[in-house]
Amino acid sequence: MYGIEAIAKYNGWAISAVGVSIVFTGLVLLSLSISRIHKVLDLWDNRNNIQLFKKKVVKDPKPELPPFTPNEKASARQFRLLISTMDDPFSLQRLLHLAKISGLERPHASLDHLLKARIIEPDHQGHHLFNSEAFDRFVS
């Protein structure tokens, strides 16, 4: 038996169609699974940071700093002048010393105020930096 007749007799069309479908299904499934492996592994590595499993911590809103008074602004400007004479980053003790010998009023309180306003920021290596952006926002 030959030709289409032989194909039909031996169920050739169905075998071919199902065979191709199975090969395709197998490789498509494999392709989909392996395309997700790295994402699953990333998820596993960062499982501690997944929001779903993390306890929600309600944070208190940070109190807004009240605006600087004219006296505080004047004091901040004097501190900026002193800082401009120093190295960058500078020592807070040295700045306080300079403020005292320059006769600035209530230097401790003024300096504390500048730190709270983040006009003076720690560099986390024992020294401090002047934040001109914060200065402009609060003082200028």
């Binding site: 199975i22 090969v23 197998g26 490789l27 392996i34 395309s35």
Partner: protein, 375 residues
């Protein structure tokens, strides 16, 4: 004395020789020539070619010398082919030497390996139409997978009498990949398409590589359990390689084991091509259908790549579709060569390895599917 001399002469190859043995010896010599002088798959063609010389020395039947005589040494070695022992061992070695990174980096290229397997089923239909039985047709169709071990494995299960012609056809066409594929590739693609550059693949992590053989094995074998011997060994070999701690086993699998088995497989398959058994009209049909199968598989891969480009944002070079046939790494190399003819700075080899490797998996699944349908 004269009688003794006459008896001796009647037992010599010169007396027993048949024109079919001479033809097969010449074919064997051509194989050896192609392997050594042209460097076409020498690791396969040289053993097969020499096996053809061994199998076509005319011997007196009953002395236990021929491969088809049950008490001969060659017959015992040939049991590895007929019982389907050698192909899984070769797959073990292939797994231990294959890096699946490119496949893991861009899994969508796996579909090209699936598309190329359509050639197997189209040829299956062609073989049925030409009058082959379903078992024979399935064994002939698998030649389109361009995977020698898979073709031998399936034929050993379904049509053991055709192992010789099918194995020789499969390996011949695998060796002739650089000759068969380029004209089809140029015919079915435009120059603009051949110039497409592929995106750099992402870096693949070690854990992904270790997980891949396990996932691939479980998924494919649950879907097509008959692919178990081939895919199981392929994935196991790859796990040995990627696990690092089993490096010694991986080295053994990809060197001594695969080399020994390739020698035994090549020589015995070659020796099975005895002229009187091999040179039949069926063999001619098998060679014709094998070539057709190979061409159709290549064309299916190329056309499917073009079809995928209709939907993909980042276009793929359709030449990669030709690597969907599982002749590893020859068809990937051919893609590289054809691509570089258009643009010498375009490197497609590593991208072509993805459909090439998925072709190996696809042809093993196709073999499993055909086996389960026929048994």
């Amino acid at each position: 004395m004269e009688t003794l001399f006459l008896d001796f002469f009647q037992n010599t190859g010169f007396f027993l020789c048949d024109y079919r043995n001479i033809i097969m010896i010449l074919v064997g010599m051509v194989f050896i020539y192609l392997g050594i002088a042209k460097d076409y798959e020498p690791l396969l063609l040289v053993p097969i070619g020499f096996g053809m010389l061994m199998g076509n020395i005319p011997v007196f039947k009953g002395l236990g010398l021929g491969i088809y005589e049950s008490n001969s040494v060659l017959h015992y070695l040939y049991l590895g082919v007929t019982q389907g022992v050698y192909p899984p061992l070769i797959f073990l070695g292939i797994g231990a030497m294959t890096d699946f990174s490119t496949l893991l980096a861009r899994p969508v290229l796996m579909l090209l390996g699936a598309a190329a397997q359509a050639g197997i089923f189209i040829t299956f239909l062609g073989a049925l139409a030409l009058g082959f039985t379903p078992h024979e047709a399935a064994s002939i169709g698998i030649i389109g997978g361009a995977d020698g071990p898979t073709a031998i494995f399936l034929t050993a299960k379904l049509a053991p009498t055709l192992i010789g012609p099918i194995a020789v056809a499969a390996y011949s066409y695998m060796a002739l990949v650089p000759v068969i594929q380029p004209p089809i590739m140029r015919l079915l693609t435009t120059r603009k398409e051949r110039l497409i550059r592929m995106e750099e693949p992402r870096e693949v992590g070690k854990r992904e590589k270790i997980l891949f053989p396990i996932i691939a094995f479980l998924l494919c074998c649950f879907l097509a359990p008959a692919a178990l011997p081939l895919l199981g060994m392929l994935c196991f070999g790859n796990l040995l390689k990627e696990a690092v701690v089993t490096e010694r086993l991986a080295v053994a699998a990809r060197t001594s084991i695969i080399d020994s088995v390739t020698i035994l497989l090549g020589v015995t398959v070659g020796a099975s091509t005895q002229g009187d058994v091999f040179l039949t009209t069926k063999s001619v049909g098998i060679f014709f259908l094998g070539a057709l199968s190979f061409c159709v598989a290549t064309a299916c891969g190329l056309l499917f790549a073009k079809f995928m480009n209709l939907f993909l944002k980042s276009k793929i070079n359709p030449l990669l579709g030709a690597a969907g046939v599982s002749a590893v790494p020859d068809s990937a190399r051919v893609v590289q060569v054809v691509g570089q003819r258009e643009d010498p700075t375009n490197f497609l080899l590593m991208h072509a390895m993805a459909p090439n490797i998925s072709g190996v998996i696809g042809s093993a699944i196709a073999a499993g599917v055909l086996w389960s349908f026929m048994s």
